[in-house]
């Protein structure tokens, strides 16, 4: 009985310390949101001010169409439902392309990385090509893609896959190889087979790296969908085509509104994958070196 007192006391003591620490962190976190909210908002105000200055102070009336004032952008690009719904439709079309491309990248990337993690030989064989894939200037193979697959949606998806695949392969592979030596020894001692080792040790250990890769690739896939639009314009118009069209027709307000919405999509994707990561592994994963 006395023997059990020791650990229990120490344990509850630790629990309390941990709680206090967590509370302090939360406190600091709350203080930080208030304090960290202001500077970017203030800077945003300054930027809008500068924008007005350029529109009315620098550009004369003839050239004002180059940079319409913020409220005009709002009125024409966002508040006019006909215009805004067109932008939203384009954005949605591009988002679909980006999602399909990303899903294909994830499937190919995970499978390739898992195969590479199983044998050094295969890793050595595939890796240079994965790097080459990353190094391909997308412009250089645009003609080939349209030659083979036409200028429709499918070609846009291919662009997304080409530019978002590499981070998934590399991060997954790195993650799969991140389990410590001792952990592998533990599994070896208990005669774990390849599949068990992969399922219970390597794959869970890889999750933080996989999510980091996903976040990068998702952003790239969005870029791929927009860039793909410039070259492969058949089918439902994506946001990239709208950008081009607005620029050609000198529709500055809609052009700026589309750019803002594209950026918003990028930010939304980034936040979504951050949230997803937190949901999936936040319970157990701590970023940075373990505190001991």
């Amino acid at each position: 009985m006395t023997q059990n007192m020791g650990p229990a006391t120490e344990a509850s003591g630790m629990g309390l310390a941990a709680q206090v620490e967590a509370a302090t962190l939360a406190e600091r976190g709350r203080g930080r949101t208030a304090a960290s909210f202001l500077p970017p908002v203030a800077l945003g105000g300054l930027i809008i001010g500068a924008w007005y200055l350029v529109t009315y102070g620098i550009l004369d009336e003839r050239r004002r169409f180059l940079l319409q004032p913020p409220h005009e952008v709002w009125k024409v690009g966002f508040a006019d439902w006909d215009n805004f719904s067109q932008i939203l439709a384009g954005l949605w079309s591009s988002t679909q392309v980006a999602i399909i491309g990303l899903l294909i990248s994830i499937s190919i990337g995970l499978v390739l990385a898992i195969i590479m993690s199983q044998t050094k030989l295969i890793e050595r064989a595939i890796f240079p090509y994965a790097v080459t894939l990353q190094a391909i200037p997308i412009l250089a193979i645009v003609p080939l893609i349209s030659f083979w697959f036409g200028t429709g949606r499918f070609s846009r998806v291919i662009v997304c896959v080409i530019i978002s695949l590499f981070p998934i392969i590399v991060n997954t592979l790195f993650g799969l190889q991140s389990a410590e030596r001792d952990m592998h020894d533990l599994f070896t001692l208990h005669h774990a087979n390849r599949m068990t080792r992969l399922r219970k040790l390597m794959f869970p250990a890889a999750l933080p790296a996989i999510f980091a890769g996903l976040r990068i690739s998702a952003g790239l896939s969005v870029i791929g969908a927009i860039v793909g639009d410039f070259f492969f314009g058949r089918g439902a118009a994506g946001i990239g085509q709208l950008l081009q069209r607005f620029a050609n027709r000198l529709l500055g307000e809609q052009l700026l509104a589309s750019i803002i919405m594209s950026s918003a999509l990028g930010v939304a994707v980034f936040l979504f994958f951050g949230w997803l990561q937190n949901r999936a592994i936040g319970k157990w994963y701590e970023a940075g070196p373990p505190t001991e």
Partner: protein
């Protein structure tokens, strides 16, 4: 592969030279019987851990023979080696899971082991919220679920603070008094060695050889106050002396 003369674990003329030419062990022979707790003390990097890796089959010796039943070998690593994505309960369950025990049996063994190491109430915690000592307890509990007749400890308490270490020593001792396994413990702490063991071997600097061994005469159960006994100090002094000789 059990030994013939009743020893649970025996090493016969073990030598180990790594492929890069490093000689880690030279001609090491000793054995551990059930109910014996043998400790090896030696300077860092003398090949102590290599010996455990050879015993467990993680490494293959260059020459010599090991006899041990590897089916239910307990191996406590230097670090707690908990899987961060598993709770304490799931971590403790891991080995029983890998060894294919059925879930009902697993649950019973896990509950028992967690109680034994005093982690009750922390079953659903993740390793990141545990102290170093608690992680080590979870690691011990994980090994305990297998009820191994042979227990290998690879400097398990090196990373925790002095007070926690003393307490973990007392708990290890309690486990030993209860289970009476054959224990082989690696450490560079002399007081830890004397406090726990029935016998202490001193290993020289690389390549590791056994240069002296001391029977520890104190009967079990041992009280924490044993550390302040004059005979405890005297024996520790002798071992320290032998260890200094082994260093040069």
């Amino acid at each position: 592969m059990a030994t013939t003369n009743g020893d649970s674990l025996s090493f016969k003329n073990i030598s180990m030279t790594f492929p890069d030419g490093t000689a880690a062990l030279r001609d090491v022979s000793f054995s551990v019987a059930k109910g014996e707790f043998v400790t090896i003390v030696g300077p860092s990097g003398c090949g102590k851990s290599t010996l455990l890796k050879i015993a467990s089959g993680l490494l293959r010796q260059s020459s010599g023979e090991v006899a041990v039943d590897r089916e239910r070998l307990g191996y406590v690593f230097q670090d707690a080696t908990l899987l961060p994505w598993r709770t304490v309960r799931q971590n403790v369950e891991l080995l029983a899971e890998l060894n294919g025990f059925d879930p009902r049996e697993r649950e019973r063994l896990v509950a028992e082991a967690i109680t034994l190491v005093g982690l009750t109430g922390f079953e659903n915690h993740y390793p990141k919220s545990l102290s170093g000592g608690m992680k080590m307890r979870a690691s011990l509990a994980r090994t305990l679920t297998l009820k191994p007749p042979v227990f290998l400890f690879d400097e398990p308490f090196g990373a925790v603070d002095e007070i926690t270490r003393a307490r973990l020593n007392e708990e290890t001792l309690n486990l030993f008094e209860r289970e009476r396994f054959a224990g082989l413990f690696i450490t560079h702490s002399i007081s830890e060695a004397v406090f726990l063991s029935t016998r202490v071997h001193v290993m020289s600097a690389r390549p590791g050889r056994l240069v002296a061994n001391f029977a520890v005469p104190f009967p079990y159960p041992r009280s924490p106050d044993l550390r302040f006994d004059s005979r405890f100090g005297e024996l520790s002094g002798q071992i320290a002396h032998a260890l200094r000789g082994a260093h040069s």
